[in-house]
Amino acid sequence: MFNLIKMDTHRLVHSTSTWITLLFTVVLAVFSVVMTNVYIQMAKEDPSSLAVEPTEEIQLGIYVDANPEWVTGNIEIGDIISTEMKSGVLAIIVVVFAAIFSNAEQKNGYIKNIAGQFPRRGNLIISKFAAIAIQIFWMMIVFSLITVITGFALWGSRFYLGSFMPILKFLGTQYLLHLGFAALIMFFSIFTRSTAFSMTAGILICTGFAIPIYSIINKLIADIKPSWDFNVGNYMLDRNITQISLAVTSDIMVRGVVVGIVFSVISVLFAMLIIKKRDIR
């Protein structure tokens, strides 16, 4: 087991996809902060552009919010990191990486060299998950650092740290949610043996294409039990990633942690079951 983790960690370091996704993490972090700055500049010139009508509609696609205070006042580091991360851009890169990394062994057949020699074949999944967890950790660190550096470059002394603990809590929760998402994509890859399918499915979920499905489920539940105020989206990874910010209550934060852990555990267990029961091609 420990040997397999060492193997997958070594593969992680020597895979082109690892470095390409890290590079894209840098590019997207810079791009996101620059776009937020463009938004702030536009609001400076036309303050009405920041006036948001209260709406219950959920937007599809990748978008960033901006705080009206950012136009003239100071900008807290945690707020910017939270805004950029919950936009879902990092989740998309996580999806791309998880799909490529978890399916590589099946795609090129390397799994045939090792799977037979490990009677506890489920360990192959745990080691892959461990390597993915390491990469997501670094992706989050890089994304946050680049966001901070770009923010300093753009806003200088207006960009300040504020309190550190809420940032850590937020990053921890988002880490678990992103990890859960990666585990789900790994399960898709193992199950379908297709990088294209798992990547496309993941990107569509990130961009909100599952929301209509959640609405249908909510409507069905409301029809069955009208008194129950249930929203399935609250228990899904994508909705939690976009909902959880620095400002949310601890209840919502805890819910995010639980959702991330539950998705990780269930996805890993199902992927282990599949790789154990299915013949290696």
Partner: protein, 304 residues
């Protein structure tokens, strides 16, 4: 432990089709076991089950004298190259080997260098595997199978894509490993003549069924040069042959005798038979190639 590996009615069924049907293979430590069969005969499926990559539908196998779950504990002693070599194309040969070494817990220095040397890839440097020829990939696949000094190496069509020199080199390598490290090999191939140059034992498989298992000596005897004599009275003919001092013969059927010695004495044999009132219906010197033997056994050329 008489056998290193035996299979007990090993069966693999896909839907209604039995790809492998109740196969009983027997392999001793130190054998080079050649699994012969045409494409689709079930060779790869058998090897996949033995390698732990596919689960049998019925039957089981015993490894190092252990069966069931106990046998699976010994799977780490098996190295495999099944179908095309599974390699990371964007990594070098050494990096591919490093991954397997890490997985298997091999920490010995120079292991990778030695393995590359063993398969003749010591000079590839940092060249990425995606730029390798098919033969080079095949050699890397063999090197991967040899990581962690396995006792049993399962090679599925290992000489596919190799040029004649490459084939000879791989053959020499496998024979050397067999001799020096006492590694047991199971090698599947449809290139029968090549397999016959290294295998010590054979299993002939056709349509998922193991038709015959035999040693190299048995096969050579079957394929060796002989006189095929057709007479009207085999019993009397045998007495005449023994009277001539010919003892290496075999009665094949009611009218056919195969004689394995004094191959140039066809005329004397005919004369002796005639003197004793035995009619010679036909006498020919035959030399059946391994391929002919295989074709006869599996039902002829239309099956290939």
């Amino acid at each position: 432990m008489e056998y290193l590996l035996t299979t007990n009615r090993l069966t693999k069924q896909y839907g209604r089709h039995k790809a492998v049907n109740a196969v009983n293979i027997h392999i001793r430590q130190g054998d080079i076991y050649g699994l012969i069969g045409r494409n689709g005969a079930g060779k790869t499926t058998i090897l996949k089950m033995i390698s732990g990559l596919a689960a049998p539908t019925e039957g089981d196998f015993s490894l190092f004298g252990k069966t069931g779950k106990e046998a699976y504990e010994y799977m780490s002693r098996i190295g495999t190259l099944i179908e095309s070599p599974g390699v990371y194309p964007n990594m070098s040969a050494a990096e591919n080997l490093k991954l397997k070494c890490l997985a298997m817990g091999v920490r010995k220095k120079d292991t990778i260098k030695e393995l590359l040397k063993t398969v003749g890839l010591e000079n590839v440097g940092k060249k990425k595997v995606k730029n390798f020829s098919l033969g080079m990939k095949q050699r890397l696949g063999i090197a991967l199978a040899l990581v962690a000094d396995p006792d049993l190496v399962v090679l599925d069509e290992p000489i596919n894509g190799l040029d004649p020199q490459g084939i000879a080199e791989v053959r020499e390598t496998l024979q050397k490993l067999n001799k020096e490290k006492n590694i047991t090999f199971i090698i599947s191939s449809h290139i029968l003549e090549e397999l016959s140059k290294m295998a010590t034992n054979y299993g002939i498989i056709h349509d998922g069924v193991l038709l015959q298992e035999m040693t190299r000596e048995e096969l050579l005897a079957k394929c060796s040069e002989r006189i095929e004599l057709k007479t009207d009275d085999t019993r009397k003919a045998c007495t005449v042959l023994e009277g001539m001092g010919i003892n290496q013969y075999k009665v094949v059927d009611a009218s056919t005798i195969q004689i394995f010695e004094r191959l140039n004495d066809g005329g004397d044999i005919t004369m002796a038979l005639a003197e004793n009132g035995v009619k010679t219906m036909g006498i020919t010197v035959k030399n059946e190639a391994l391929e002919d033997y295989y074709l006869n056994l599996t039902g002829g050329a239309e099956n290939v």
